[in-house]
């Protein structure tokens, strides 16, 4: 009898040692990992990162445009499900912008996610032994340009509250930098990117870069962004230099440029800013002053079409839909010629080259069925005119609030309800407090 127990115990012990030696680790069954890509990425791996980067730039795009569009009093975003569009953003009553709410945390993290992807792309390209130096430079030039652009978008939100520029090591993030230092860092990142692009070979596909999908084209795109950064920095001469190396052309289509594009394929996105006309419940309507202030005959009134019924919520109302993005696959501009023409006007006016400035302004006016500028030829008057043209030409493309802020004119934006506020900047997200 005892023998049996000993035997049983022996078998149990031997079984358990057998069992101990057999361990399981299933790996990641659902997707590739960053660690895989950093080892020795192939061209197709790197191209996946490029497309992922371009696609990821569209994440939270609608929310960004609503953030700057509502605060910049370009329009209202009515949603029965989300009251904070009409409370926090226009500053109703005692409401303020919170550092933990979706309107800042979501777009902020979406942009830095793309920055992270660019950093992975940079590192993966550098680590790869399977591609040539020229091709590596192409990936690097693309990655740095996009990184700079994404940082700029976040700086547009937080303004004087700053951004982090050095975010390569998630466990050891760089310090927040001020608005001016942030712009300087973005400018120098763009400069180093354009350096990468000279002599680079581009072997990756791009979706929204029609006409700009080679090294030379990417450099032009890069310089267009550099021109925007230069005017933000009030580096007027720098803006003109950058424009001359970009795709700026007074005689070309206003819509020549680089865009976020959309599609119905698997894993793709539809234009999130598109809402059909005359919807109820979820609507995006133009601020009443858009139609009130527009010059007669300006074809840009078509960007805010009349509704069959007025939409209203919480004491805000408008009878015009925002009709800038007219289908679920309509592109959203990143930077386009019309903005560059207006940057040309701005820089020249600031440098007192009024004739060049007026020439550019008139190009815009003519393009929108308006007669030439006839106002005073003073800096102040011309800046007013330039800002007005920017308001209508770049409507709901994310500029009005930033323009009024950099000219210190937020006080001129209309306040609709007693107790509403025009915010100057979003707070740093709560996760960034330390």
């Amino acid at each position: 009898m005892k023998k049996n127990i000993i035997l049983a115990a022996l078998i149990l012990v031997s079984l358990s040692s057998f069992f101990v030696s057999c361990k399981k680790d299933y790996g990641n069954l659902n997707n590739a990992t960053v660690e895989d890509f950093l080892k020795n990425a192939s061209k197709s791996d790197l191209n996946n990162l490029v497309s992922g980067t371009e696609a990821g730039m569209r994440n939270q795009l609608a929310l960004y445009l609503d953030d700057v569009g509502v605060i910049g009093r370009e329009g209202y975003r009515f949603s029965n499900a989300e009251p904070r569009y009409v409370t926090d953003l226009p500053g109703a009553n005692n409401a303020t912008l919170s550092n933990s709410n979706f309107y800042i945390t979501n777009p902020w993290s979406a942009r830095y996610r793309v920055v992270k992807n660019c950093n992975v792309l940079l590192q993966a390209a550098a680590n790869s032994s399977l591609i040539s130096e020229a091709k590596k430079k192409g990936y690097a030039g693309f990655a740095r340009t996009i990184k700079a652009y994404q940082l700029l978008i976040n700086l547009n939100l937080t303004d004087t509250n700053g951004i982090r520029v050095d975010v390569a090591d998630p466990d050891n993030l760089g310090k927040f930098v001020t608005y001016n230092d942030g712009l300087a860092a973005i400018a120098s990142l763009l400069d180093s990117a354009v350096n990468d692009l000279s002599g680079a070979t581009v072997v990756f596909p791009l979706a929204g870069f029609n006409g700009f999908n080679d090294a030379a084209g990417l450099a032009k795109f890069n310089r267009a962004l550099a021109a925007r950064v230069a005017v933000y920095r009030q580096d007027w001469q720098g803006a003109l230099t950058a424009l001359s190396q970009s795709f700026f052309d007074l005689n070309k289509d206003f819509y020549l440029g680089v865009f976020h594009v959309f599609g119905t394929g698997s894993g793709d996105q539809l234009n999130p800013v598109f809402i059909p006309q005359n919807q109820t419940g979820e609507v995006r309507v133009a601020h009443p002053t858009y139609a009130r202030d527009i010059e007669a005959g300006d074809d840009r009134i078509n960007k805010a079409t009349l509704r069959t019924t007025t939409a209203s919520l919480s004491g805000l109302a408008s009878n015009r839909d925002i009709w800038v993005y007219t289908s679920s696959t309509a592109p959203v501009p990143i930077v386009r010629n019309e903005e560059l023409i207006l940057i040309y006007a701005e820089a020249n006016i600031q440098l007192n080259n009024f004739s060049e400035g007026i020439k550019a302004i008139n190009t815009i006016r003519k393009g929108h069925q308006l007669a030439n500028y006839t106002g005073a030829q003073t800096k102040a008057a011309l800046i007013n005119e330039m800002l007005k043209q920017r308001r209508y030409s770049l409507f709901y493309e994310g500029h009005r609030w930033i323009d009024m802020r950099r000219y210190d004119r937020l006080g001129e934006l209309p306040v609709d309800r007693q107790g509403d506020d025009v915010w100057k900047a979003f707070p740093r997200p709560f996760t960034e407090q330390y």
Partner: protein, 980 residues
Amino acid sequence: MMKKRLLIITGILCMLFIPVIVPAQNIAVTGQVIDASGAPIPSATVAVKNSTVSVATDAKGNFSLAIPPDASIIVSATGYKTQTIRARPDLKIKLEEDVAKLDEVVVTGLATTVKRRNLANAVATISSKQLSGTSPAQTFDAALSGKIPGAYINANSGAPGGGISVKLRGVTSVYGNTQPLYVVDGVFVDNTSTSAGMNAVTSAQGSGGTTSNQDNPSSRIADLRPEDIENIEILKGASAAAVYGSRAAAGVIIITTKRGRQGKTSVSVSQDIGFVTARKLLGVRAFTADRAASLSRDSATSVALRQQFLDAQSKGQIYDYEKEIYGNTGFLRNTVVSMSGGNEKTSFYFSAAQKDEGGIVKNTGYQNTSMRLNIDHRITDNIKFGVSTSYINSSADRGLFGNDNAGITTGIALASTPSFAQLHPDKAGNYPNNPFAAANPLQTIALMKNNETVNRFITGANLDAILQKSNSSTTRFIARGGFDFYNLNTNVLFPGILQFQAVNKGTSIQGFTKNLSTNYILSLVNTWNASDKLSLTTSAGFTQETGDYNNLLNVATQIISGQSNVDQAGALNATQLRTKFQNSGIFVQEEANIADAVSLTAGVRFDRSSNNGDAGKFYVYPKGGISWNLTKTGLIKDGFFENIKLRAAYGQANNVPAYGSKFTSLVVSNITGFPGVIVNTQQGQSTIKPERQTEFEAGLDFSVLNGRLGFELTYYNKVIKDFLMLSNLASSSGFSTKWLNAGNLRNRGVELGMNARPVQARNITWNTSVNFWLNRSLVTKLIIPAAPQGSFGYVLGSYQIEQGKSATQIVGLNGQGVGVLGDAEPKFQMNSYNELTFFKNLSLRFLIHWKQGGQNVNLTTLQNDFGGTSADFDNVTNKQGIPDGIYRISLVGSDAHQFVATSTYARLREIGLYYSFTRVPISYVKGIRFGVSLNNYITITKYKSYDPEVSNFGTGFSSGVDVDPYPASKRANFHLSIDL
């Protein structure tokens, strides 16, 4: 491969031992089991000691049994004290009442049991009668509500098909698993909630994602049939559950289903019919022309609204849409046929059941069809084999409810729709667009579909072989295992004709989920009776659990009219999620019983899991317990107090990290046909460890008045070390979250229980149990800064894990800044289950549940205020003298107190009245039972939404969020059952 080999070896091992035991010549014993008053006790168990042989008594308490000479028999029955006697040919056995349930047998090891009188833990049990014998709930999970002392239970949604959150003894994890492990007849049952992909339409959690925790899926445990359940034991913390190892940190719910016993075959047929209605409606705002006009501040719109109201009023077209949508009566029926019986070798239990229930919202409902066959077979006197098999087919139509950022769910659309809106279809059946919201809820309800269909097999087997037997020692080999396999098909369809499908032109979301869970336990158990006063039980063995989950979710948009197949569409988005794990453990446990007065338990378990950062590393989890009966040891004489027992137990268990915590993934992010990848928002943590729970509990049990009043007092201190938290990262890192072993938290609490029989007269008996419990948690260490979690941020009230604070505190704007506004943890809870029996045949049973304190984040009222439709919008009770609705809106953004609402309630959860006819003129009918019952009919609460017992954000840590859910319902039932 390895597993197969193991089983073969085990089989050989068993065969080796079979011939060792020589069968002896048996003698026949007959007898009757009766209670103190001489009445027969049917269904009592008569078992031969140290053997696998047992029979059940028949309706007259009689039994007959063949046993070896000189053997002892053990006679037991639920509610009576167990007796062990020497067998004689003709016996009359009188059992004593056991109100304090001291003789109840409780599972304490993976293969061992102990009587409650020797138990070191407070283990709650729910009998079949308590579970489903008063007023049956729709699903198994809902049937647990209010019945577990120490638990905090909330419904994720009132939608048909269940879905509840069960938290035993406080929150045991922050973002790890907070839900207990369910074990049915030894099979670890999966309780994953699988989203149907509603987020693709509602954008409840940001835009883009297909799924979110706000999609209100059901929990898979809801599939189980309460009618098949004999008994439930609840191991509430690590001190009791340590032997279950890596998945036991949130407690273990051990479910035992009914089994057949030797005796005449009995057949029982029962039929319930009833109806279900909303527990509460909030009411709607009474509009006037002025109030209609005030919905807009735009003068032209105002004028139009006034006219619209006047037109509607003159045509008599003012509607109470809330009542129209939620005020329906759903009919329900439930049929159960069961059969059980057996001979001396083989016994069986079989049941087939079907229920079909309508919801309070049109086109919602629940069906469940199930079949169970449990078979036990004695291969020899020493080897017993059993299987439990069940097949379940369930189908739930759950509608479109809850939080949403698109303004389309029923509640959210309703919130902004005034009574003078015209939503009804024209004669051709065309619904008008709702000018006040993004959706016409009448149209949505009529045309949409959100169905979950499950086909599920749960099968377990166990083998119990006596390897060695002598007068003082018995050694058994016990093997248990099984699998749980299901296919879940989620079918969501929003036709293009719907108001909110203007962009997508029809959305079809088809989800296919397959899950296979397996587990087995192999163990050797030796019981050694060293002397009359000392017995030792040694057990050792190993366990393994695996899970393999595969979810494929297709979202098709631009669908061809009338079609739902995902290929009949212009655009298709597919996502697939797989998880797989294997946990392995080795355990050793020693139990000592000294003179039936002191019992000592010690055990240790070694565990590893493929989900851990280091998949090969074994983590060690010890446990120990002592129970000391002061009266039995003679320290205190039995007097007024009897059976005074002190007990203490200690144990550790863990909770493995979520699958994939270790990896930094690159997720798909395509653009115009170019395949792209982007870093996931969750950063991998290659060194992730399981969280470890250490629980100490101590208690005092005693009974008074001859056992008619039993008390159980328990205190516990549960410490969770290295709790898993999906911590917020500085999102400039590119990541939003990362799994971390972020800190420590503890739960301390008290559970007081009383069982009594206050009245025992000839024609009336009253059994009652009263329980009181409370829990307090504290975050003792947090290595990351405190941040709002799991809700809507400070503006609307949010959870926040913060060192030195309660783990379930709710913080938010308090008018001056950010402060603590509440806590989800109730101050205390109480329940009382009562059964009154009159003239032996009439039985009244009821369950009362009282939850005192605890706050919810209630945003349902806010939604109604924003839409200008709250019933009390125009009341003026605030100091500013403006309508309350406007006043409340004006506080948004500066003060969140109004959203953090106390959810105290007292509820008559179940009440049922049953009458049994035991003498029926028809010879083959043994008994007929009639009954009427009410479920959740009476609730006393000041809580301002549909139901205080709510958790719209799923089963995780952030319970108690209330955003326009499917309203909770109440049920009335008529019952008829016939025993053949």
